[in-house]
């Protein structure tokens, strides 16, 4: 109960002053009822009531004046304004309200940004690994190597590899089963007939063992011939 009393601070002061005790009483009865029904219900009541208080805090902080204004405008405009007019107005109202409360706006924007970023990151992984994996066997074990250059204050993003480094990794890396380097680009085939633009991938022979596939046509080249 002490916890709820503390959480009541989220609610508008006038409401708390007038009805705080009554709200505590009502919450206590809801909680008692939930306890009779089981632990799941208790958690549900807590979560719902907490969310309710949060909504109250936000709506009281930003809703009051806007509600009155909206109600007045609605009376005048409802008959003639179309849906789009009302929507545009509401968007403007929301923008003005946000501009008047920069701290809240900033906090809300940051919270949203973090939440969206976290979701996007998780979704990217889930999308790639679970829902839409690369078309290679055991594709969840494929990784891309990425380098930085701490001396130049570059922490990552250098995904090109010098041949010395490739051979070093191929010979010494113990956490990697195979290493391959590839580089894609274009080239023009000339010499016989009409020149043709080709898509070219330059790769180390180890690419097939890294990807775990064989060429659909022909034979893959081997180290000796590379």
């Amino acid at each position: 109960m002490r916890m709820y009393r503390w959480l009541l601070r989220l609610s508008p002061e006038a409401l708390r002053r007038e009805y705080g005790a009554a709200m505590e009483d009502m919450f206590a009865r809801r909680l008692a009822e939930a306890r009779r029904r089981g632990a799941g219900y208790v958690a549900h009541v807590w979560a719902r009531e907490l969310a309710g208080l949060l909504m109250l805090a936000v709506s009281e902080r930003f809703g009051g004046a806007a509600r009155t204004r909206a109600r007045q405008q609605q009376r005048f405009l409802a008959a003639k304004a179309g849906v789009m007019d009302m929507t545009t107005q509401e968007i403007w109202q929301a923008a003005r309200r946000l501009a008047r409360a920069p701290l809240f706006t900033l906090t809300a924007a940051l919270t949203l940004a973090l939440a969206i970023a976290a979701n996007a990151t998780i979704f990217t992984v889930v999308h790639r690994v679970v829902m839409n994996p690369l078309p290679y066997p055991e594709s969840d074990r494929l990784i891309a190597l990425d380098y930085g250059m701490p001396a130049r204050n570059v922490t990552s993003g250098m995904n090109s590899m010098a041949w010395q480094l490739y051979f070093h990794l191929a010979d010494h890396a113990r956490t990697l089963q195979h290493v391959a380097v590839y580089n894609s680009g274009g080239g023009t085939l000339t010499g016989s007939g009409i020149p043709e633009r080709l898509q070219i991938i330059r790769a180390t022979p180890s690419l097939v063992s890294v990807l775990g596939v064989q060429p659909a046509l022909g034979r893959w080249f081997i180290d000796r011939k590379a």
């Binding site: 609610s11 508008p12 006038a14 409401l15 007038e18 009805y19 005790a21 009554a22 709200m23 505590e24 009483d25 009502m26 919450f27 009865r29 809801r30 719902r48 009531e49 969310a51 309710g52 208080l53 909504m55 109250l56 709506s59 009281e60 109600r71 609605q74 009376r75 008959a79």
Partner: protein, 113 residues
């Protein structure tokens, strides 16, 4: 063409709260239960939402805090309908009834038995 009634529709929760007080004075927890029951579980206001609605209704003079029976927890607040509250509830009921009549006329709702 019938003149459009300028009184806007009451918010759902507000009408249900007024309805809950139709039997006589009541307190938050009981009002909340009645709202949930009457709306078939569609409305189940949190404590905060219910008291915010009650405060607004009090400010608008539709509801008034009254003394409860002597033997209850002194923290418990009782509320009762004012005359304006009864009128607002009646107006809303009339609005809904008119809609039901219109639905009947258009055969969207069963005729009265």
């Amino acid at each position: 063409v019938k003149e459009i009634d300028p009184t806007p529709a009451l918010p759902d929760l507000v009408f249900h709260v007024l309805l809950a007080l139709g039997h006589g004075p009541s307190h938050g927890y009981a009002i909340g239960q009645d709202v949930e029951e009457q709306s078939g579980g569609r409305l189940d206001p949190t404590t905060g939402a219910l008291y915010q609605a009650l405060r607004r209704l009090t400010d608008e003079g539709l509801v008034v805090p009254v003394d409860g029976p002597g033997d209850v927890d002194p923290r418990r607040k009782y509320f009762a309908l004012t005359r304006a509250g009864r009128r607002a509830a009646a107006q809303e009921a009339e609005r809904l009834a008119a809609l039901v009549r219109a639905a009947r006329q258009r055969k969207l709702y069963p005729q009265r038995a």
